[in-house]
């Protein structure tokens, strides 16, 4: 087992609004291995978007504050990085894709001008013009200057005094070279006729196109981790399928790990290797996606799966989970799901059940353990 790309340990996040505090994320731990896709699924307000934005420290602080825990990325604990250092850390390995394709591109700029921004930052960092954060066990890759390739060495003008070599290595890319970089990124996301797209404004593109440009922008940063916060929720199903297919193809091409946040169980089942189910700020079940979805071991997961719409009316009326999502300023004691849980016993009101490994039901899991935060995981399969 290799080192994880990202390791979140016991992360807790609270929002302070007025006099009240809301525990949006409680004690979440997560390891993302290189090249894996981790899905996070849960209802609206369960803390999944807060988690997504907390990892690259994009949450507005205040009102949000990271109470405890660590987020280790490439040997640096991002929780300990100061506000002043954050701009140097951002864009050096974690990229994000957002939900609303309508607002995720600046309406005032042509596609080229938006896409070149991220590429410029990376380029200046590679050249050492812009300062990069130095710290942690493994400093960021951008602290090293790239080695010149054969073509650029041959193209280098021969000048006396060895000044030429330095010249070539630190040369800032020209506008047309930036243009080539942008085109490369657009072709990577299978955009037809990228040369025309470059000169268009965001409002001239469809939602699916905009989302693909967002993906291209995120990939242009050459990230080790891509955080996709509901990237397909605002798209209709056919476009959704295309974007998902694209993302799956890209995983192999760019070797990035993906943290995929969604409320859509189908989307998670389609893309993720492992899935974490969140409820009221806690991860209640975690494991390989097939196992979690085929044989859930937490009552919430089971009921969530039962509530997903089927294809036919004949399957009976839609099932819903009785009760409401708890108010996070006054969460229920113990297991946060117990007021809505058919399996609840007095013990559930006491201590919160730990996320413990459950016995695999369907054969042996080759991909790591299936965990559930329930005192009675063995009773879940026989639930109605």
């Amino acid at each position: 087992m290799t080192d994880p790309v990202l390791s979140v340990k016991n992360l807790s996040i609270t929002y302070t609004v007025g006099a009240g505090t809301f525990q949006a994320v409680v004690d979440v731990s997560l390891d993302i291995q290189p090249g894996r896709v981790i899905g996070i699924v849960g209802e609206t307000g369960c803390g999944k978007s807060t988690l997504a934005q907390a990892i690259p420290r994009l949450l507005p602080e205040p009102p949000a504050s990271i109470g405890s825990g660590s987020i280790t990325f490439r040997g640096t604990d991002l929780v300990k990085v100061t506000r002043r250092q954050m701009p140097m850390v951002r864009g050096t390995g974690i990229a994000m894709i957002f939900q609303e394709p309508l607002n995720s591109l600046n309406p005032s700029y042509r596609i080229f001008d938006q896409m070149v921004e991220a590429i410029q930052i990376r380029h200046y960092r590679e050249l050492g013009i812009v300062k990069t954060f130095q710290g942690g066990d493994r400093p960021f890759d951008y602290s090293k200057r790239p080695t010149p390739d054969v073509a650029s060495t041959l193209a280098r003008p021969v000048l006396p005094g060895g000044a030429a070599e330095e010249e070539v290595r630190t040369r800032i890319m020209s506008r047309s070279e930036f243009r080539e970089e942008v085109l490369k990124c657009l072709r990577l996301v299978r955009i037809n006729d990228p040369e025309t797209i470059l000169n268009l404004y965001p409002h001239e593109l469809s939602g699916g196109m905009r989302q693909r440009i967002m993906i291209a922008m995120a990939l242009s940063e050459k990230p080790a981790l891509l955080i996709a916060d509901e990237p397909t929720s605002a798209l209709d199903v056919t476009i959704q399928a295309q974007v998902l297919t694209l993302m799956k193809d890209l995983i192999d091409e760019v070797h990035a790990s993906i943290l995929f946040i969604s409320h859509d169980l189908g989307v998670i089942a389609e893309t993720a290797d492992e899935v974490g189910v969140m409820y009221a700020g806690r991860v209640v079940e975690y494991g390989p996606v097939d196992e979690v979805f085929r044989s859930p071991r937490h009552p919430y997961t089971k009921m969530l799966l039962a509530a997903a719409p089927r294809k036919y009316k004949a399957d009976g009326p839609l099932r819903s989970i009785p009760g409401n999502v708890p108010n996070l300023s006054r969460p229920p004691s113990g297991c946060r799901f117990h007021p809505r849980c058919p399996l609840a016993r007095p013990v559930c009101k006491g201590e919160n059940p730990p996320l413990a490994v459950v016995d695999p039901v369907v054969g042996d899991s080759p991909r790591g353990a299936h965990r559930s935060a329930c005192y009675f995981p063995e009773e879940v399969p026989s639930m109605p």
Binding site: Q53, P56, L58, P60, E61, P62, R83, P87, M88, R90, G91, T92, M96, F98, Q99, N103, S104, N106, P107, S108, Y109, R110, E117, A118, I121, R125, R175, R190, I191, N192, D193, E195, T196, I197, N199, L200, Y201, H203, E204, L205, S206, G208, M209, M214, M217, E221, T232, T238, I239, Q240, A241, Q242, L244, T245, L246, D264, G266, V267, E270, A308
Partner: protein, 345 residues
């Protein structure tokens, strides 16, 4: 790809912008009129500053020897009881009144805009939050006074004259811009593209300029243009009360002219005296209001392109030849994607 759209050539881009500007103006007859009026007003003001003899036959206090005469070819707006030519005096006031409008609205825009940006954008850090609260409470204090009364009081305290009045109005004018800019910034700064830029490592200063200020410009410039008219009316009101400038004098001013002619009690016998300065204020304010409306369409890339499309029937289209699908939304490449194994779950 058409050369006019290549992002590499700057001159072509400029020509395209100019062409778009022209098309939008042509598509909105009213804003075109506004643009034309503002252009004429500005050129006239410039001529009066450089060579007044070209437009104005008489000086500000030059006696014509004709007393209280109605409009005629020689005196288009008549003469007053001092035998001064009213048309000349009105025109001579144009550069001052226009300058006042620009200076007061401009000063308020710069000061209020800067404070609004700070109050809206930097309100998360502890120091910024303190600054934000301070700015907004001071703004509230200013807004809680009727601005006209406050400007009057300050003018009285500083003494009669153009400069004290300009200063006084500027002092009461900036809070509106603080409110406007701060509101816009608060709405813009949580949009995904701002967060995406931050996630990519863009520095805060650059985010503020490229992603916040650039998208603020459109409402602010429109407001500014409309505001010039409001400033003119306010200044004229203070001039009308008689604390801004003296008329008749070496430098006429519309508000003061109105006040003087109105107070001479001759509005029923010699109505042309008040007509000229009143009409001047009306036309200037109207011109800027119409222009403001048109600017909204030009500055917003969405409506701008829509106008360009609308104008396609008149001119050769600048772009669509190489665009694969319909002009409304362009979704090239979709058909290339493999769609098997779709994610309907």
């Amino acid at each position: 790809m058409p050369a006019s759209l290549s992002s590499g050539s700057r001159t072509a881009g400029f020509r395209e912008t100019l062409g778009t500007f022209w098309r939008v103006l042509r598509a909105n007859p009213l804003s075109f009129v506004g643009f034309l009026m503002v252009a004429i007003i500005c050129v006239a003001a410039l001529i009066i500053v450089v060579a007044p003899g070209l437009l104005v036959p008489y000086g500000p206090q030059q006696e014509t020897g004709v007393f209280s005469q109605g409009p005629s070819w020689k005196h288009p707006f008549g003469t007053d009881a001092n035998s001064f030519d009213i048309y000349s005096n009105t025109m001579l006031a144009l550069p001052l009144d226009l300058g006042i409008g620009f200076v007061i609205a401009g000063a308020a825009l710069l000061a209020g805009g800067a404070l609004g940006l700070v109050a809206g954008f930097y309100d998360t850090s502890p120091l910024g939050a303190a600054a934000s609260v301070t700015i907004m409470r001071i703004t509230d204090v200013f807004l809680s006074f009727p601005s006209l009364i406050l400007a009057l009081a300050i003018t009285r305290a500083l003494g009669i004259g153009v400069l004290p009045t300009v200063f006084a109005i500027s002092l009461t004018w900036w809070p509106y811009y603080v409110r406007l800019v701060r509101g816009e910034v608060l709405a813009l700064k949580h949009l995904p593209y701002v967060i995406a830029a931050r996630a990519a490592g863009v520095r805060e200063g650059r985010i503020l300029l490229r992603h916040i200020v650039r998208n603020l410009l459109e409402p602010i410039i429109v407001y500014f243009t409309l505001d010039i008219g409001t400033v003119l009316v306010t200044y004229s009101t203070i001039g009308f009360i008689g604390v801004a400038s003296k008329y008749p004098g070496p430098q006429p001013e519309w508000g003061a002219m109105l006040a003087y002619y109105q107070s001479s009690g001759s509005i029923t016998t010699t109505p042309w005296e008040v007509l000229a300065p009143g009409l001047a204020i009306f036309i200037t304010v109207l011109a800027f209001s119409l222009l403001g409306d048109g600017l909204r369409d030009i500055l917003d890339p969405r409506t701008r392109r829509a106008f360009v499309r609308g104008a396609v029937s008149h001119d050769p289209p600048p772009e669509p030849q190489s665009v694969p699908s319909s002009p409304g939304t362009i979704d090239g490449g979709l058909d290339r994607l493999p769609t098997e194994g779709g994610a309907t779950g």
